[in-house]
Symmetry: D2
Subunit: 355 residues, 4 copies
């Protein structure tokens, strides 16, 4: 830790235990064996946290502010990841534990049919402007040429997705990328993650436990393959990240929000966002863009350089933010990314079209 | 639960969650996903235990005494299994947590060289006599013909095993069964489980944490393949279970013991047992007998019948008992069994020879 | 090659290419990559064979006769293995190629119900006597004590096995060993290998191509798990190898036979064998004996010692011989062995009972 | 087959056997079991080919010319694939068989250091123009904005690549994408495919057998991960496919070529190509572009639509052509694609830089 010559590590071995993936930080506990760690005890972990917090607070004025901002942004990412992991863990338990109680709500309202916002395209710019914190992968700002396109004005709902399912969506290879079709076959996918069929009805596992599926909610927990197959079935496509970012300028920049109930909301419940609803704060939106460096991108030196750059292959970009993204974390230029097969994050579908 | 018409289960779903392997008891939580269970909470588990304890105590006079005895014996098996699992889990943690503090002891004493107790063999009998509880797999009592043989009067020590290692034991296929050699190659076995080389010295991970290897202790945590390879290297062999049981008659039946320190003792520390030392209470002893039904064996009906019979293939028998076996649990006729590749139980080596 | 100082190997690299499993013979081509060998060409292989044949013929008088006998017996084993492998390979091809043409036959005759030959047991002897070639694993001859038992007088037929299937044989865990039940579930076993359901009828893939299943033929291509489950369903059990060998003394020692049509015959077609039919020449018969060394067994030194001894774990013994066993190869004391899950050899079921 | 109502298929089952991946064409022989097909016999395959050839020739005037062109282009792709597969198969054989004899050549000449051709970029166009056959994935032609860039004027040589290796290339995670580093670790990669260290010297397995590595030849058989890591080490990067295509306009369009010796040539041996050497006819060149649909791309209906579109994820684009690409097959707009881990195709490295 720069600026603190006299810092004493809490436990030498914790650097090994808690190194998640930084090669530049030396060896680490093997990832598949993480589940076997029952020690250090909860008390030790709390003491470790208090030790680190105290040292950071004491040192904070002397620290590089960019590094502090990066640390905070990283911590915020883990807040969302914790909710993803808790939901996944709980879902594997037949008891279906609830992370938080469920608020009583009346029946939800069906949204209006999807409308299409049209954009003329042309030579536009995307990427971080400078001014305020952003991750390195959001820059440099650069030009891109866009053909005219249209973007759906809201997310795809569970009911709309169920129509795809009922039309044989998971049984007709013509909608699927080859790798996606292999997974559908091998994993026996029949529906999004956390959908459960009980005697003909669909129920949904949420952070508030299991309950009937609300047809008017955005569909959640779809992989890239499912989002792409749905869009093909719907005679549309997914947007590129440049299209998404260009269109999102219309929306007031990612609003701060803090949710009492950690779950996605219907279009009616979402705050009014003029032309385009649900761009932020409901579900991350798959784009058809592979996660790649922007022209001129150069990762910083050292372990910080491992933060983003080394993952720039075999992943697809998601844009926007979800109900579980901490307040103030999302940005117009924010690039989230996951493997095309992943479904445990809070991902949804917004369609695009050639105009 | 027989005899208690009015018993109310604590939670319907626990039957699914906590069914380890009984097909007759219906579906169960998939074994590879056990590690993901973070619920029910510890409080719920304690309440469940109290609920069951109370019901058992209330009902105990009306219950089938054989079933109660089986339940207790089964519970005792899990006491040893818990220690095996705790040791294994802790061993995977770089912090090397200790399950219990280590007592201070002086240097241990080298045992006398192995002596050989000779037996004339002939037509003998093994298996449960009746009188007192025994598992179904210990009977029926039946005749076997034994050729003359000799049994080692103590367990193989760590120092003796290290000689095998230093003579290329893990690098010379001529000592190994083919399946064992494959594992040695694929898993990179170089020593028994929990042995750790640190700058040329061997250290041992124990339930008291990591410490220098005591050369005079019995070697522990060897697979059948290693025990068999060691014996072949030593120009001996492993005993059959009939030989072991026939010889063990000489030893006072398995003594009750309760250990302060959960670890194996040297021959000098072990209580005097006349001709044969360390038959009980130190380390389970691999035999060369595949786990199979005794002539005339017939498993009981129902879920109880799944207890032993259905595992009678692909396993080898171990005899005796270990330092972790609860007091009163072991017996002359007791048949423990594990896959020949398993090493996480408290297993050691006693050799035999043709006389 | 002993006795031939001046022998020149055909190609230095063939020792590596064609070493199947002898550790004492050095490195070898990895087993899972055998399928990729398209070279040496067929011409080279023929030339290699001619080279070796010529050298053996020239040297044969100077060679150790025991070694020559072992070589011939080993070659004969591979003759049967070749037929097993050809059948398996062809079965995977939708074209269902026939290895040989099928002879025209009328409908087969239903055998009489299984009769039981009773044996008093007692202290008996099994194993090679000396006199004539035998594999090392067939000795030493030694005593065993047998309780009274009965042996079925013929093999189980396909019709009888189908009754087990129709009674839920593959769906009821109470008949199965735990490891076997896992395979049934994981592999989706519903019938013996090579049985094929076509619109409600069972057809059989044979070395003569695919044809309707003959209900009166012995069931073939069952694993140990299936043989054991069938016997449990039929309220019987499999014999031990000692029981089988003791009973087989009644039968004229394994007859020489050479089959025009390589397939199993019904009991009516099998040559009359007094009390016990089909002991040799139809299908290998699973025993409940794990493959283990006989008391006093000691493998020979060198690579020859790897022939049998190193496989003595995790396998079950089969006795008798099959229609594909070369003439003169089988013996009363012959011990065949396979993994309990294997089904591609010509294996059938003969039951036993406690008398 | 359109236009031939009366066509009789050679064998109904061949449609199943020889369907490689077309879901729209029904079920198919499982890919991992392809190695077990020893039937149909070579004679049958020849007869099948003759049958199809005759039918095509008879029908050709009535057939859709676009479909015929697609069929021919597809066949040409398989000609190169056959050479890739033959090389791979032969490489796994210790005998190191040669596909063709090796011509005698003198020592090769070291090329001049890499020079950099500079391009101003701006709003350019890439993709098929129409006029002549092209695959569907090469269009539509569309605009892209390029920042100024420079392209290396020749491929990276084996000697240059060895410098990367000797500088710890395969041992320093800072050069690698995370997925690439995992493979380096798990597969133990130390060099490109087919490089073999023999007593300190590097030898190369080629279609002409094994021989010393020629340091001045382009490095071949590198994965995307290796190409990307090399470029990062060399303080450069890989080109995008738009950069590559824009630069390649300078080069006379892909020359027809037919090679006597199927191997890559040094820059000196390659035909003079003005500013940029070795763009075509030596080795496919990895780009940093993920394989994705061009804006406005829409796959054709039916099985033809499965040809390219369904693979547009998890793959990287390669441009140019190799020594094994059939004459006339390559094009300026040609998009080859492989998984980033693949190395068995004839792939090399051309670097780019921001200008």
């Amino acid at each position: 830790m720069r600026g603190r010559r006299d810092y004493r590590v809490f436990d030498e071995r914790f650097g090994y235990l808690f190194n998640s993936y930084y090669n530049a930080k030396g060896d680490r506990h093997p990832r598949p064996e993480r589940g076997v760690l029952s020690r250090p005890s909860l008390d030790d972990v709390h003491a470790y946290r208090a030790h680190v917090d105290a040292a950071v607070i004491e040192a904070i004025d002397a620290l590089d502010p960019d590094l502090v901002a990066l640390g905070l942004a990283h911590e915020e990412q883990h807040q969302e990841l914790m909710l993803m992991d808790i939901k996944h863990l709980f879902s594997l338990n037949i008891i279906a534990p609830a992370y938080q109680p469920r608020s009583r709500r009346g029946a939800s309202e069906a949204p209006a049919p999807i409308g299409w916002a049209e954009f003329a395209g042309g030579l536009i710019e995307i990427g971080r402007e400078g001014g305020g914190f952003a991750f390195d992968n959001e820059g440099p700002r650069h030009k891109q040429y866009l053909a005219p396109f249209a973007l759906a004005d809201r997310l795809v709902t569970a009911r709309e997705y169920r129509e795809f399912m009922e039309d044989g969506g998971y049984a007709r290879p013509e909608f699927w990328l080859s790798d996606g079709w292999d997974i559908v076959q091998n994993e026996g996918w029949q529906a999004p993650l956390y959908w459960r069929e009980r005697e003909g009805d669909w129920r949904l596992f949420t952070l508030q436990g299991e309950r009937p599926l609300d047809p008017h909610e955005p569909v959640l927990h779809v992989s890239y393959y499912e989002a792409d197959a749905y869009a093909r079935w719907a005679k549309a496509r997914l947007p590129t990240e440049a299209e998404w970012e260009h269109a999102a300028i219309l929306v007031q920049a990612a609003p701060s929000h803090s949710r009492a109930e950690l779950h996605v909301r219907t279009a009616a419940e979402s705050p009014s966002q003029a032309l385009l609803k649900q761009m932020f704060g409901e579900a991350w939106q798959w784009t058809q863009s592979a996660y790649a460096p922007y022209p001129g991108y150069c990762p910083p030196a050292g372990a910080i350089g491992e933060y983003n750059g080394k993952f720039m292959v075999n992943q697809m970009v998601l844009r926007g933010s979800s109900f579980a993204t901490p307040p103030g974390h999302a940005r117009l230029t924010y690039r989230n990314f996951f493997s095309p097969a992943a479904r445990w994050m809070f991902s949804g579908i917004r369609m695009a079209k050639d105009a």
